[in-house]
Amino acid sequence: MQIPVIMVLPSSVAMSAGVVEGGTFPQGLQLDPNYPMVPFGGNGPAITAAFGDETEREQHYVVRGFVEASLEDPPQMLDGHVVYADPEIAPFVTCGADAVGAASDVATLLQTDELLRRGMDGTNVGVVILDTGINLTHLESVLGYVPNFDSANSWTPPGVGWTAGDAPVDHGTMCAFDALIAAPSATLIDYPILSANAPTGGSVMSGFLSTALLAFAGIHGSWNSGVGSGDLSQYSGLVVSNSWGIFHPSWDFPAGHPGRYCDNPNHPFILQLETMSMGAIDVFFAAGNCGADCPDGRCQNRSVESIMGASASVDALSIAGCDINNERVGYSSQGPSIAGMYGMKPDFTAYTHFLGSQAFGVDVPDSGTSAACPVAAGCMAALRTHISPRTPATPYMMYSHFRQQATTPAGQSTGWNGDYGYGIINTVPIAVGFGH
């Protein structure tokens, strides 16, 4: 087979490439006509020493070509010149601790200036963060402004020792920050379901799905109260961001049990999602952090069919993660989702792994599909400024628009795939489509 190689040749050799048969060009090297000879490293002694120059202080060139060999046993030299590998390369998948870009880069990619110019900033739209709780003081210090916050319609779990908006700086504060990137004037509503400690004499629901079920029921009831003021019905749109889930089926009932959650469209929480979306509430879920390249340890090395439960429901959007270079982050769960649920998840991809909230430290990125989810939810909140969910622009219609307008990443074919869903979030065309 022909394998690609690179050689570094002195000019006297390289220039003879056009007359290979009669010159001193390395025998056995078939030059790649599409690759120009690239001047390399000057003509100093180090270069001549390194590449065995016949003519001292001669200019060197990099050439690319092919040799007949196997990848297991390529030639080491051709006519006295070293043969270097030209391996296939691919972008490094973001897995590590280092941030890739900052929130300002994300704002640029989301075209938030265009959204703002169209008056789409989240004004009078409620964004519910179901998470560990929001710390407003920290948000203000990082944002440089005081975000809108609805303490009256937020929920403070009994027994936690703090009030709504005054939670310890943690995951929920990160999510709130990320939702405000595209919707800086949205109103945050805090539902710290992951901090619901067991109150004395009360129920133990901390970190359990039933807490989310309870929260969703409260949100739906308030939003659809018909009161129009005081409760959640005062908002022109309501977006719910969920950066949580289960990491492994072992957290659930055994496989085959009809009451299982992760693969069961008839589980009460999955049925409740339909109620939410049919009730004009936009629901976003993180796809999960069990991507094949660097799954979270809690995934127990299970990266196939790792999008489960609500993240795999047809009645909510499931958000994968990419960095600001449009490269999927290695931990972002890949579809298709678990058998039994809607297979074509994630729906689309939004940005993560950037410096933003500083909730975990000045140099620590907002990461996980946890960050991608509120970034996407914020984009929906921006649109809801002028596109009411109580009109024909229902959540289901908007879910469809987000999928249709998503941008196909370079190197990917159009349509759905398990890494990116339908592509990378692209909000402005949706606004334009609605005449804004």
Partner: protein, 82 residues
């Protein structure tokens, strides 16, 4: 005896054609003493369109069977995706 919050619990579904049933009515539908239902959770809306509501029940109060109309359904732990 009041509901013991430290015991393992599951989710069950109950019906309510004219709004949610009371906790006592939910317990009656499930054939359980009301003390086996979590009063802090209450009766929670799942789907008004289907007349479906959910309650949280001590797992130890249930047998091994499964009823599609009632459950039990799992209440797994959840965690942030970070």
């Amino acid at each position: 005896m009041p509901f013991d919050a430290t015991r393992e619990a599951v989710l069950m579904t109950v019906k309510g054609s004219d709004g949610p049933p009371s906790l006592a009515e939910a317990a009656e539908q499930l054939g359980l003493p009301v003390d086996e239902l979590d009063p802090a959770f209450g009766v929670v809306m799942v789907s008004p369109r289907r007349g479906l509501y959910s309650v949280r029940v001590a797992a130890s109060a249930l047998g091994d069977g499964f009823d599609p109309e009632k459950g039990p359904y799992s209440d797994p732990k959840i965690a942030p995706m970070r």
